[in-house]
């Protein structure tokens, strides 16, 4: 073994002193021969006989040298080096070709690398600053198979019972207005358990994280850790920041620490700016103090498993505990489980919304890569025809076919390596592109970076090698066909009318067309879904209604104060000219937050034994339905008279009426909500509550004054523009309280658009890449057609000489191009019929076989093909028979 290693090192060293070793060998052999000659002369031979004899007994001098050389260095490396240098020379000699190939590959590999980096950065390694993410899993409750949030007491029980889990980490995203100096801004932060920073292995660069005691005691620990970004931008990197006070949601907090740079919290999509301990939950969350309420589910949790523990082991243990909790606390836990999820399937952040899009993108970029490869393959083919002569000569002077193949693959490798390098640059530029596709929301920092780590690099390298193989294959096939005897035969020209030898190139074009056809169909389907979503009525007016939030909680208001402030503001707003109506409601439809939810009982409705009817509701002011444009089916909606002193009332939606009163009118009937009986006074039409894509579900409204909470959005029905209203509103708000911050004022349409942004992102991405694919295909088609025309000049000239007119030649070439396209479209159409189902729930109200999408893809493809073929066809009509036939 030692000798082998030694030999290898010596051989390696020999690569670098080749000249000296060569001289040494020359001299040594020379001296050997001279000594032999001398000896022979001394034996009595003549000078020439002596030399002759010496050479004879030595054997071949050159062979000996060659044997020594082979054994001295590392021949494989040396020939590889030769191939590499030769390859570079060849590629430099035709820079146009090389650049075009590298450009195609850069686009193909770059699209792949960019999507890999997004998948890595969004799904697999979303929290770069967090240690050992492979042991980190998301935890949610489940109800009826749907992921739900979890409650604090449940988590505490899990914590004491589970032995396989290293730590349970509680997080909850929330928003607050942050006023520092004279600037107020909406900021995202997290409520976290005290073990948060220790459990994820993030150590504050200043001050400390949270201490265990800070988990308990209602509102007892107003402390916060702020992000590096916040510290830098808003506190100017103040080194004395620890110990200073900052008002958060109306309560003064002590800043106890600053998180390190590059740590953005643990929520895919948003950059967290501050963290507060769980004991401060009530201050930041609507719905009261929840740390002792097992029924209050508000927590987004992660677990860190102990080293070596697998997901399924931990899940088993946790499910057992969940089962026990179900039995111990049937009132709150019956029918509920607890589930662990790999980070990339995390149900409560943007990982879930982006997962289907990124999955599709993975397929799309492979298509783009294949199309790019087909293009490059075509270019290489053209060149391999041009290089036939060179190859033939090299074969003739004794190069083995293996050696030629190695040379061709080396050239392919050089090209794809450049492509890969370019591709990584593209990926680097695209790292932050994903976030740009999401609409901006009122100053909150979205954060969706791609991550280029060794796994992305390795995958890109694999793509590069795969490409190399494809690239090498094409000319290799061609080289295999070279026969020495045919070396001097001239190329017979290709024939426009017939297939002939060009079938490989035509085949590649057909594949390209079919791949881009599939992408076009996909893009068409997604675009149509987006339009359907955008055009589908959410059940409320999206135009003419503006929405904003006045942050009373961070202004330090208590409930009575907030109530009178809101009444006062409403009066002032309604008095504005142009304002038709205005109302406060707790939850905004189609927003990230969650509606209140309650188990209900209905007079005369006996639920099946396994069913525990639970319904969501919203707390709204008078004239809510009128303001939002939700039609009433029967009865009335709330008025100012439905206040604290009046009888409790509710308005239900149609689905709820149908489900619990079965066709009878619910008006005048009673429903039990959180232990209080309410009388149904009206039925409203269904609308969308949490997502545009949800199925109709039971829902009801209760009067805000009978169920008051400080939080709430303000809705204004007006034909005026958001800017006009914003100015007026700001003036009124400041008149009432100069310290209050007003959130952005947006039309409800904007709210709707934001809720459909995942569809939007999918459309944009598939659209861009589909366009890229189409462009590459057009280039490919153009290349093949113009090559065919240039190779068929003689035939075209002949046809012209025999009387074919320009228009006939035009038709001939165009029809050939269209025939290729038609083949591709047929193939692609068949593939698309099978593949578009994969778009799955990105499609909304559109069949995966929608004829409109297929039809428009066909039209686009045909137009593109005509465009690609037109120039070559036109050139064919310019054939000069006299010249071409003579050549």
């Amino acid at each position: 073994m030692r000798e082998l290693l030694r030999t290898f090192v010596q051989r390696l060293a020999a690569l670098f002193r080749r000249q000296q070793l060569e001289d040494d060998l020359d001299e040594e052999l020379h001296s050997h021969l001279e000594m032999a000659v001398e000896l022979n002369v001394r034996k009595g031979m003549s000078a020439s006989d002596a030399r002759h004899e010496a050479l004879r007994s030595f054997g071949g001098v050159e062979q000996t040298k060659e044997m020594c050389r082979d054994q001295r260095g590392l021949p494989m490396i040396e020939t590889a080096w030769q191939d590499l240098r030769f390859g570079f020379r060849i590629l430099r000699r035709s820079p146009g070709f090389s650049l075009l190939v590298i450009l195609c590959l850069t686009l193909g590999i770059g699209a792949n690398a960019a999507v890999f980096s997004w998948i890595e950065g969004v799904l697999f390694r979303p929290y770069p600053a967090v240690v050992h993410q492979e042991q980190l899993f998301a935890l949610t409750g489940t109800a009826l198979g749907e992921a739900d949030l979890t409650s604090w007491p449940d988590l505490l029980d899990l914590q004491t019972s589970c032995t396989l889990v290293d730590s349970f980490i509680v997080t909850k995203i929330m928003r607050t207005a942050l006023s520092i100096g004279d600037r107020a801004e909406v900021t995202t932060g997290s409520i976290v358990s005290a073990n948060y920073f220790d459990a994820i292995g993030v150590h504050p660069i200043l001050g400390r994280g949270f201490e265990t005691s800070e988990d308990s005691g209602r509102n007892a620990h107003p402390v916060t850790v702020i992000s590096y970004q916040l510290w830098e931008e808003r506190f100017k990197g103040d080194p004395q920041i620890v110990g200073k006070m900052q008002r958060l949601n109306g309560v003064m907090h002590t800043i106890v620490g600053v998180a390190p740079e590059g740590f953005y919290g643990t929520f895919v999509g948003w950059a967290m700016q501050f963290w507060v301990p769980a004991s401060m939950e009530e201050n930041f969350e609507a719905g009261g103090y929840k740390l002792e309420d097992r029924g209050a589910r508000w927590i987004e949790a992660y677990v860190r498993l102990k080293p070596g523990v697998t997901l399924s082991q931990a899940q088993q243990e946790i499910s057992a505990v969940a089962k026990r909790l179900e039995n111990e606390y049937p009132a709150t836990n019956r029918g509920r489980g607890i589930t662990l999820w790999p980070l990339w399937q995390t149900p409560f952040n943007n990982a879930r919304t982006l997962l289907p899009t990124l999955e599709i993108m993975l397929a799309v970029v492979v298509f783009v890569l294949l199309i790019a490869c087909a293009n490059v393959g075509n270019l290489l083919l053209v060149r391999s025809f041009a290089r036939r002569h060179e190859m033939t000569i090299r074969l003739a002077i004794g190069a083995g076919r293996g050696r030629l193949l190695k040379q061709l693959f080396t050239e392919g490798l050089i090209l794809s390596a450049f492509g890969a390098a370019g591709g990584l640059l593209v990926a680097q530029w695209c790292r932050h592109a994903l976030v740009l596709l999401f609409p901006a929301r009122g100053g909150v920092t979205m954060h969706l970076p791609g991550e280029i780590d060794w796994r992305v690099l390795a995958l890109s390298a694999a793509v590069c090698l795969f490409t190399t193989l494809l690239l090498g294959l094409v000319p290799a096939m061609q080289t295999g066909k070279i026969d020495l005897a045919g070396a001097l035969k001239s190329d017979s020209a290709g024939v426009v009318g017939g297939g002939g030898r060009a079938w490989v190139r035509s085949g590649l074009v057909v594949v390209q067309v079919s791949l881009s056809f599939v992408l076009l169909v996909g893009a068409g389907l997604l675009l149509q879904s987006l339009q359907k979503i955008r055009n589908s009525s959410p059940g409320f007016s999206t135009h003419g209604v503006l929405f904003t939030v006045v942050d009373l909680r961070s202004g330090g208001y208590d409930a009575p104060g907030a109530q009178s402030f809101q009444e006062e503001l409403l009066e002032r707003v309604k008095a504005k000219p142009g304002v038709e109506s205005a109302v406060f409601a707790r939850m905004t439809p189609l927003s990230y937050g969650s509606f209140s939810e309650t188990p209900i009982a209905v007079d005369g409705y006996q639920p099946p034994p396994e069913e525990r009817p639970t319904v969501q509701y919203n707390e709204v002011g008078p004239d809510y339905c009128a303001t939002m444009g939700i039609p009433l089916v029967s009865g009335r909606e709330f008025t100012r008279a439905d206040d604290e002193r009046a009888a409790l009332v509710a308005v239900v939606n149609e689905t709820m009426a149908a489900q619990y009163w079965r066709g009878k009118s619910p008006i005048g009937e009673r429903v039990l909500v959180k232990g209080r009986w309410m009388q149904v006074v009206g039925v409203a039409k269904d609308s969308k509550y949490q997502s545009v894509r949800e199925a109709p579900k039971p829902f009801f409204y209760v009067p805000r004054r009978q169920n008051f909470s400080i939080d709430g959005g303000l809705y204004v029905r007006t034909p005026l523009s958001p800017d006009t209203i914003a100015t007026a509103l700001r003036r009124e708000v400041h008149a009432l309280d100069p310290d209050l911050a007003l959130y952005e004022v947006i039309p409800l349409q904007e709210q709707l658009d934001r809720s459909t942004s995942p569809q939007n992102v999918a459309v944009i991405l598939v659209g861009v890449l589909g366009g890229l694919a189409l462009l590459l295909t057009v280039i490919g088609l153009y290349g093949v057609m113009s090559y065919t025309v240039s190779q068929s000049r003689r035939e075209l000239g002949l046809r012209m000489a025999l009387g074919a007119g320009a228009s006939k030649l035009l038709r001939l070439v165009l029809s050939r191009g269209l025939a290729l396209t038609a083949g591709g479209v047929l193939l692609g159409g068949a593939a698309a019929l099978g593949l578009t189902r994969l778009l799955g729930n990105l499609l909304y109200n559109v069949s995966p076989r929608d004829p409109l999408a297929f039809g428009s893809a066909l039209v686009v493809m045909t137009v593109a093909a005509l465009a690609a073929c037109f120039l070559p066809a036109w050139r064919a009509t310019r054939t000069d028979p006299a010249r071409d036939l003579r050549d």
């Binding site: 030694r6 010596q10 040594e28 001296s31 001295r72």
Partner: protein, 111 residues
């Protein structure tokens, strides 16, 4: 045929070179070639050229070392000498050669 001709030759040649250097001390390539021819009484008809790849191989493995020197006739020549590792290797190879030869002898006798 269990061994290819070159394999047998290569192994044997290595052993002969090592043995020659062991008994004669540092020598140049031509000297080694002459010596092997003499000792084998010209039974071993080797192309002298094949000696050089063998010398190179042995040197790569660290069994012999080389140094430029001057021959008895005042000619510049490369002298090879046995290293300590080479001496060990020679002992080992000679032993295994003996064992092999003894075994073959036994086999030939018993039949």
């Amino acid at each position: 045929m269990p061994f290819s001709k070159s394999e047998v030759l290569q192994g044997t040649l290595d052993l002969l070179v090592l043995k020659t250097l062991d008994s004669m001390g540092p020598m140049h390539g031509f000297g080694i070639a002459l010596r092997i021819q003499q000792v084998s009484e010209d039974l071993l008809q080797l192309n002298q050229g094949t000696l050089y790849p063998a010398l190179q191989r042995l040197e790569q493995r660290g069994w012999i070392a080389s140094k430029w020197g001057v021959s008895e006739n005042n000619r510049k020549a490369k002298y090879y000498s046995l290293t300590r590792a080479g001496r060990r290797q020679l002992v080992e190879e000679a032993e295994s050669w003996d064992r092999m030869a003894a075994m073959i002898n036994r086999v030939l006798r018993t039949t």
